[in-house]
Structures are given as C-alpha cells and as structure tokens.
Symmetry: C2
Subunit: 302 residues, 2 copies
C-alpha cells in the first residue's frame, strides 16, 4: 500500500490481515468468511460539494428538459434549469424525490445502464475538472487490492443507487456487479414485443443507508463481514454490525481532514456528516484514518 | 458427469460449456460473465409430495404449539396439530400466510439460522426416510461442479426462503450464502441490550418466483446469466430472461418422468407444475432432461 504513510492506521490494517490469514494462528479465518464491506461516497470516492449521483441527476434534468416544457415553470426543475441548484434543493426530501423519479425510472434496466455508462464516461467534477471516476482515493484502491490478494471478497455497501454504481464498479474498483449493494427502486418484469425487459418503477424498493446497511448486507451476502470501512454516520450501523461478530474484527473510518488536497469536514457537514460514528470509533478504538496525515496521495492524478 | 447417460441432454451441456470456454473461439465468454442460475425445488432437490420448506413449517408449528394453547382450536393450526395437513391447507394462500408468519418471523436472523440448521440436520422425508439434504439430485451436483470447474459462478434462484436455504447451501451444493437468491421477509435493524440484531418482521419483502426471478437476478447479480436451469412454470421468466441475451445461451428444464426412482409429474401437478414452460422449451429448442432416461442415478444414496 505505497500511498499510505507509515502510522497507526496502516499498521492496524496490516496487523489485522496478517492475523486472520495466518494459517496456523489462533485468529485464522477461512477465505469464504473473509468478507469486507466498503461504503462508497466519501470512502472510495469523493462526495463534495455534493454526492456525485446528484450531479448525474442534475445533468439528466437538463438532458430531458426538451421533452418536458412544463419544467420551465415547475419546481424543483425550473430552478435547476436556471442553474440555481440551491433553490431547487430547498424543497428538501420532496424535491429530491421528484428529481429522482423524473430521472431514474420509467426506462428499462438496460436503458438505465447505458444512460449511466454514457454519463460517467464524460461528466466532470466542477472543481477539479476530472472525470468522477478519477476522484477515487488511491490509498483505498490499494487497500482493496491488498485485501483481495489476501483472499478477501470485497463488497460495496452504499446509500447510492445500486444500478448507478454497477456499470463502472468493476472497471474502477475491481468489484463486480454482484458484489455491489445499494439503494434501489422497484422493477417489474414485462414483455415488450415478446422481449423480456425489467422496467424501473417510480417506487423506492430499498434504502441502503444507516440501519438499512446491515439489512442490505444480510439480504445480499447472508453472512457477517469481518471488516467494514466507512466515513460517516450513515455507516455507523454497518460498523456496529461488523464489530459484534466473534473473532477478529476490523472497523475503519476515513476522516476527511485535508482541505488542501480534498475537503475537510465532519460533525457539521450536511453531506457525509461524521459525528456519532466518530464518537463511537474513538470510544471503541476503531481505526480512524486522518486523511491529511495518513495518505501520501489522495487521488490517483495527484 | 458420471451420473448422466450419454444422450442429447448431456451432449448439449458439454457442447455449450466447450464453446463458451474455448479461449480463441468465436463464442468465448469471459469468466466474470459465466453466470449460471439454478432453481432449487425440483431442480436441485426434490419437491414432492410438497415443498420441503412446508415440512419445516409444519414441524415448527408442532414445536411451537405448547407456547400457543389457542392453536388447539384455531385454524389452520388445529388441523395441523391433529395431523390433518390437507384440511389445514384447504385455507389456501391465507392459511399458508398464517403458517409462515407463525413460524418464520419474530426472531432474529441468527436465531432463525439456528432453527433451520437444527431442523435440517435431523428432519427426514416421510417417503424415503432420508435427510432432506440427501434428496438432492446427484447429476445436478455433478453439473454444478462441472460448471464451476469451467469458471462458472453458480447461483440459486428459488421461490423458497433465502434464509431457509443459506444455512446449508454451501455444504450441500457448494454455493455460498452470497450466491443464494430467494423469497424473503422484511427485517429491521435493532439494538437489544446494546447489541445489534436483525429482527425478522411479519411482512413479505420479496417473492422470488415467476416474473420475480429476473427481478431477483438483477437485484442480486446485476448481470444477465448465460445459463439457467429450472423445472417448472415458475422458472419460465428466468429462462426467458437468460435466453434473450447476446451470444451463446443455455436453458434447461428438468422433466420429472421417473415415478419409480423419484416422482412423475408435469402439466397437472399443483407442486412444480410444468406446462407453459414445457411448451416454450419444445418450441425454442431448450434442453429438456428426461429424468428417467437421462439420469443413471437420481439421488446420491441410490
């Protein structure tokens, strides 16, 4: 893990992996049980100044606007089309729900996959000018590789959309679609001209955040992870669920402390708030990554 | 696959696998895309005279009866306690729902896993006197092994309960819990004396049958299988969904034709009805296994 500075965080990772893989040691864990779960936003890639899926949503509103002349006067769409995202999001959860439903459903699963693939191939972050898939954390990529080289199976467990991540998770993280867990809408099997399709419906199926993360883990994996990696209060229950199992356990929080190379935020941030989980990590001795100190490099392009 | 007689069914399997694994051939499929999905009841293990999970349910009613004196007079429980399953099930879906909710929910996911594990270790089939996990099809076990040896990832996609299968699927089929897809109830994250648990709730989460199977496949796997194995109309949409993809595809139905070594049933059977799917298999040239002719041996103990 060349992008990690030597320090307590790196040391704790290596010690844990060494213990559970030592074939004749007391803490040995069978490869089948070496399940590691990773939050995505703020843990594997950045999440400021807003979740990257929100940029996708805004871009989709703009792309679809010609088919929706009524959006010119209808909120939250009207504000977005005027470039006033702040006013658009002033409508809170209701506005967000409207935006999701206007942009994420109604098409088939294959059509949505293509929309995401096309967008992620070209869309760029407003601050760095980089592709969003370049704004992944180099030390975390190395950690994923290190764990897999030691027989771990790596999963994403994210509040983001499961079908928003799958089109690129294998290429970017080496995590195949069947190891991606996320939020979802309901879908419906249908025959269109005799051809089977899955249609994305305007109804939430599952919210994979906070207490939903252990639920999603059990639903998809069916066994308890032995290592969990997050960065915000939305990851707290996933870390608790991981921590309570028998044998060696590893819990880690990425603390965003680097305003220069990335962003610095924690207890007060509306995006990726890290408050209760930070207290619990301190109390329980979970590993906390101080991004500024622990990481030689943040992004691969730096 | 020593338990398969030489014939069209065995030949079609081997030809398909040979084509998609030939590295310089026109039909080569990358290992990551070699996804094979298997129905469970009637495809990997037997399902007569009723689904094995129904035996589990009846046994649980009997085990829980001392805590429910009211069941002595309350249907469908009263009939079951008198040994009259037929009358109990005369109440149709409503009765089944009551039985499920009385036996499958209210406990934590860990408690339910232990209940299933304890039952499956000792419960025996009323006709053969064998453990239910012995009533798996030897030729299908060999097929699972053959596919995995050729780089396939094998999944169960069953109308049965996901948490009813996971405690034994790895030991019996070599299929780990994260590759088991099935029906489920909702669960809720909770803290009990500060310890995180998942509580099984009396509410259906997902029915993984018929048109639900492609939905379950997309939810859990996120890519289309290239091979699908079933035995009843409840598998039709899974086979259609598999068939429509690009490149080489393999669809197979197990036809229960062997009244002597197993059971013979198809178009008229209330359990595992095979009618529409049989017509479609014949029309489209999908592989149909004639259990009597194609299998040298049905169960491992024969």
């Amino acid at each position: 893990m060349p992008s990690w500075n030597d320090g307590a965080a790196k040391k704790s990772i290596i010690e844990f992996v060494t213990r559970v893989t030592k074939a004749d040691g007391p803490d040995f864990v069978q490869p089948a049980e070496r399940i590691a779960v990773f939050d995505n936003d703020g843990t594997l890639w950045a999440e400021q100044p807003m979740y990257f899926q929100a940029f996708f949503t805004l871009d989709r509103v703009k792309a679809l606007a010609p088919q929706h002349p009524e959006w010119k006067t209808q909120e939250p769409f009207a504000s977005i089309l005027k470039g006033d995202v702040k006013s658009a999001l002033a409508g809170g959860e209701k506005a967000l729900g409207q935006l999701m439903m206007a942009t994420h459903v109604g098409m088939t699963s294959e059509e949505f996959e293509k929309i995401v693939s096309d967008w992620i191939a070209t869309a760029r972050h407003p601050k760095t000018g980089r592709l969003f898939t370049e704004m992944v954390y180099q030390p975390m990529l190395e950690l994923l590789t290190y764990l897999r080289a030691n027989g771990f199976k790596t999963f994403i467990v994210s509040g983001g959309g499961i079908e928003f991540m799958r089109p690129w998770s294998e290429r970017v993280y080496g995590i195949p679609p069947e190891q991606v867990i996320g939020s979802s809408v309901k879908t419906k099997f249908d025959l269109r001209d005799g051809k089977p399709v899955l249609v994305r419906l305007p109804e939430i199926n599952f919210v994979d955040d906070g207490p939903g993360k252990p639920v999603g883990i059990q639903m998809h994996i069916g066994r308890r992870p032995i290592a969990a990696f997050g960065n915000s209060d939305g990851d707290l229950q996933m870390l608790q669920w991981t921590a309570i199992g028998a044998g060696q356990r590893f819990m880690l929080l990425v603390h965003h402390t680097d305003a220069e190379r990335e962003w610095a935020y924690d207890r007060q941030s509306p995006i990726g708030r890290l408050d209760k989980a930070l207290d619990e990590a301190l109390r329980r001795g979970w590993t906390i990554v101080d991004m500024k100190k622990d990481w030689k490099r943040v992004f691969p392009f730096q």
